[in-house]
């Protein structure tokens, strides 16, 4: 049987299996740590930095930090929350996020995080980078203006042989997601929808599916991201 360890988040005593990642362990204890790049069931990546916490006084990403006995974690503090907010603001100026015209508006996790933090406007100047919209795939559109480089699509969307449909190409500032041309021809509508859903923002859109739900009924129209976790009763 796995060993259970005791740790503390903002002074609250928590229990989890030794070695579980902090993000997941917090969740099981009814504490939401915000994240953008993590998706339950996928190997953690730690690319967005939104889940950063102070673990025994050091800044660590909660999605990649295994829990250990006696860990002291700061998460919901002014310092950490302000830092997370500034990271979210950076995402908004670093891409071209036109929420009013975006098909994913109301479902977008970046937008939902900004709502949670009540960000009225980013403190940084908008960069308006030049990005492409690629619409020549059979089943999907990739809008690079919106991509936050979380790599969820690459990590999650695979064929029956375990081969990824998506990949990164180039490096640094020029990095972007591509869909393998030959694999794209074999992509089913179901996989396209799966890709759309795994993408936290509106960078991957299955063709001919947009704007089906009226405003007011979308995922984050009435419900704050993370509030489901915060509602979980802990023993």
């Amino acid at each position: 049987m796995a060993e259970v360890v005791r740790f503390f988040i903002d002074g609250k005593e928590c229990m989890a299996k030794n070695g579980d990642y902090l993000l997941q362990a917090a969740k099981e204890n009814g504490i939401y740590i915000p994240t953008l790049c993590h998706y339950d069931g996928l190997k953690p990546k730690g690319s967005c930095r939104v889940c950063t916490c102070k673990v025994n006084g050091r800044l660590m990403t909660a999605c990649t930090t295994p829990i250990a006995e006696g860990m002291m974690i700061e998460s919901n503090t002014l310092e950490i929350e302000e830092m997370r907010k500034s990271i979210i603001e950076l995402f908004f100026v670093d891409g071209n996020h036109f929420c009013p015209t975006c098909e994913k508006s109301g479902y977008c996790e970046l937008q939902a995080l900004a709502y949670r933090y009540r960000i009225t406007a980013p403190r940084y100047p908008f960069l308006f980078p030049l990005k492409r919209v690629v619409a020549d795939y059979a089943k999907i559109i990739i809008d690079h203006n919106r991509c936050v480089l979380c790599k969820r699509c690459v990590r999650a969307i695979k064929d029956e042989m375990g081969k990824s449909f998506f990949a990164y190409r180039r490096r640094g500032q020029n990095i972007e997601v591509i869909l393998d041309k030959r694999m794209s021809d074999r992509m089913s509508f179901e996989i396209a929808l799966e890709a759309e859903n795994i993408c936290p923002v509106g960078a991957i859109m299955a063709k001919r599916t947009a704007f089906t739900t009226p405003i007011g009924y979308r995922k984050f129209d009435k419900i704050t991201i993370g509030s489901d976790i915060e509602k979980i009763k802990t023993k």
């Binding site: 908004f92 071209n96 036109f98 929420c99 009013p100 015209t101 975006c102 508006s105 109301g106 937008q111 900004a114 709502y115 009540r118 009225t120 406007a121 100047p125 908008f126 308006f128 030049l130 990005k131 405003i215 129209d221 009435k222 704050t224």
Partner: protein, 183 residues
């Protein structure tokens, strides 16, 4: 009763949707008019500032030289400047042209667009009276200091009301999650 606060409003590169949303505060307009007086604004059609104002509401970003001029005028004449709506905050829909060269935009609008039928003489408007288009659309905060922002496209009337109420009375307002939106 305390002296009325003075409000000015303008629509730059916007669609007037944000101004429509101001009117959507419905019967609270009657409360508003008790505590404020409007100066330069399309709502009352006062064209020029006649005094310094407490609050300036800016709809739309800056897409041409006139927008920049008006925005600077508002900064000079308003103690508190509020960006109202996504276009004022980040350029909004007009800023979707930011990745496209201006020449291409103009040619698409007046010469090559599929809905261009009647411009047989291939005229691109260039009357000296017309404001010059900027190379791209600028958020208001790129041009002047903005004190507060009210997000939304358009912002929810309740959000506008809560913000105005707080700015005027100095009291905090409780803003429900549902009214704080970017679309």
């Amino acid at each position: 009763m305390a002296e009325k606060k003075i409000i000015a409003t303008t629509s730059l590169a916007g669609c007037f949707g944000c101004h429509m949303s101001i009117l959507d505060i419905d019967e609270r307009l009657l409360d508003l008019i008790e505590i404020v007086e409007f100066n330069k604004s399309p709502i009352n059609d006062i064209k020029k500032f006649t005094r310094k104002c407490d609050i300036g509401l800016i709809e739309g970003g800056c897409c041409n030289s006139e927008n920049v001029h008006v925005l600077k005028l508002f900064r000079e004449n308003c103690r508190i400047l509020v960006a109202l709506g996504e276009c004022a905050i980040m350029g909004g829909l007009p800023a979707m042209r930011n990745g496209i060269p201006l020449k291409e935009c103009i040619e698409e609008a007046y010469l090559n667009g599929i809905t261009v039928h009647s411009n047989t003489q291939k005229i691109v408007p260039n009357d000296p009276e017309l404001p010059i288009l900027l190379d791209r659309v600028y958020p208001c905060s790129d041009i002047v200091k903005i004190d507060y922002s009210i997000p939304g496209c358009p912002p929810h009337a309740d959000l506008i009301w809560a913000t105005l109420y707080s700015l005027i009375t100095g009291k905090e307002s409780d803003i429900p999650y549902e009214v704080f939106k970017y679309d």
